[in-house]
């Protein structure tokens, strides 16, 4: 399967297979007016299977979101058809308005304007908790 290489844009590579659509949603790529290619289940020597996202524009992407979904993914910035920059990722310490607190007793449940902020509380288990009520993310 062939997808054209991009001239100026971003390639998010080495995404854990199955996570590309999660990233697509969280990065709000559906709102972009540029070509976006999602390539799923690509054979990879290192990973077995992987996903790739290609964005045909050099736009700022939220590295925290990508780091949260898959800290092992790689970001390649392409300029004039060549690799101009590689960005490394790590698990972000806080996430703002990426996750939503589902605790009905949390202050965010009744004050709509408040940002939903989650803090990394356990790096090993990748556990995030709401800074207001300490409810687990996706818990």
């Amino acid at each position: 399967m062939n997808i054209d290489s991009i001239q100026n844009g971003i390639v998010i590579d080495h995404i854990k297979a199955g996570s590309a659509m999660v990233l697509y949603d969280l990065l709000h790529l559906d709102t972009l007016d540029v070509s976006v290619a999602i390539i799923k289940n690509v054979n990879s020597r290192k990973m077995g299977k992987k996903d790739i996202i290609k964005i045909d524009a050099d736009i700022p992407v939220d590295l925290d979101v990508i780091g949260y979904v898959d800290p092992d993914a790689t970001i390649n910035v392409i300029k004039n058809g060549v690799l101009a920059e590689k960005k490394s990722l790590s698990l972000p310490q806080t996430l703002t308005n990426v996750l939503r607190c589902k605790n009905p007793r949390c202050i965010t449940s009744c004050e709509q304007e408040l940002p939903h902020v989650f803090r990394l509380t356990d790096e090993k288990t990748k556990q995030y908790r709401c800074i207001y009520c300490e409810t687990k993310a996706n818990g």
């Binding site: 605790n103 007793r105 202050i107 449940s109 004050e111 304007e113 356990d122 709401c130 207001y132 009520c133």
Partner: protein, 306 residues
């Protein structure tokens, strides 16, 4: 601006400092009677409370300060839909320090993030109630002489009981503490408190539904109320509310110097027949709460002035 939202906002050294100041207030009250002259405490209570609000207000008056008070969301701008953030900004224009209780978890943090004066969390839903923990610590210190080496029984609603979670967090920083967690299956201590505090610090604990079996081992017995307001389902509340009732008969096997505590209000978890037992410390806890709130108000106002 320094605020206290969670008991863990205070280091062990700061807890020791507050305990020492509270003891000094007890010993030398006249030294402190004008310590907060011309300062105003705003008590913003958006959830029913007798003890905590009066305790804060009494504490401020005994420090020579004044009190501005809002009680009940339906008599304030909150009833008109004002956000916690706006309320905090507004009250910052009138007062020097805020004590806030709110039914929603995290409300005090929102207030602290928006106020330009110190905020003390006086209870945010089922989440945190740090000044109750300060009262508990002073009571244990005064009754047992210190914290190290104690076996602490916690009994009742360990799931929603915010005072229990805060006390475990605070006590976990002392040496050789052992916990006995007594609750019905449905109200067991949440796994995150176990994993992130008890297991993390390697604290020994026993989890049981049998109070009598473990009562003889306890140095402190902390009873809690099953709180109706934390249940979405009235049936569950009615089924669980009378699981543990402490009576003089049950205390026969307990240590002679057991310290019986309760954050109050009690419903019927502790029989009134125990009130005159020298081991009953729950009304001393109320008084100790006022002294610790005095110490905390003093500390935060002093830090804010720097």
């Amino acid at each position: 601006m320094r605020s206290v939202i969670d008991i863990l906002d205070l280091s062990v050294e700061e807890l020791d400092e507050l305990l020492a100041v509270a003891q000094d207030i007890i010993d030398n009250p006249e030294k402190y009677q004008n310590a907060c002259a011309h300062k105003k405490l705003a008590t913003l209570f958006f959830e029913p409370s007798t003890r905590t609000r009066l305790s804060f207000e009494a504490a401020m008056y005994e420090l020579g300060g004044n009190v501005l008070s809002v009680t009940g969301g339906n008599t304030s701008s909150v009833a008109k839909g004002e956000s916690v953030a706006d309320t905090a900004k507004t009250v910052s224009c009138y007062a020097d320090i805020i004590a806030m209780r709110h039914p929603k978890e995290g409300a005090a943090l929102v207030a602290a993030n928006n106020a330009s004066i110190p905020v003390i969390n006086a209870g945010d839903g089922g989440h945190c109630h740090p000044t109750q923990t300060l009262a508990d610590l002073l009571t244990i210190k005064r009754e047992k002489g210190g914290f190290d080496g104690l076996t602490i029984g916690l009994c009742g609603d360990l799931k929603f009981g915010r005072t229990v979670h805060s006390l475990i967090n605070a006590m976990s920083r002392y040496r050789d503490i052992r916990f006995i967690l007594v609750s019905p299956e449905e109200l067991k201590l949440p796994s995150y408190v176990k994993n992130e505090t008890l297991k993390k610090y390697g604290l020994p604990y026993v989890q049981t539904n049998d109070l009598l079996e473990h009562l003889p081992e306890m140095d402190v017995l902390y009873m809690t109320r099953v709180q109706r307001e934390r249940f979405f389902n009235e049936e569950d509340y009615l089924r669980l509310k009378d699981t543990y009732v402490l009576t003089p008969d049950k205390l026969k096997t307990a240590k002679s110097d057991l310290c019986i505590m309760h954050p109050l209000p009690r419903v019927n978890e502790i029989s009134v027949a125990i009130d005159n037992d020298p081991r009953a410390c729950y009304f001393k806890q109320v008084l100790n709460g006022k002294y610790m709130r005095m110490a905390l108000i003093l500390k935060l106002l002093k830090e804010a002035a720097v």
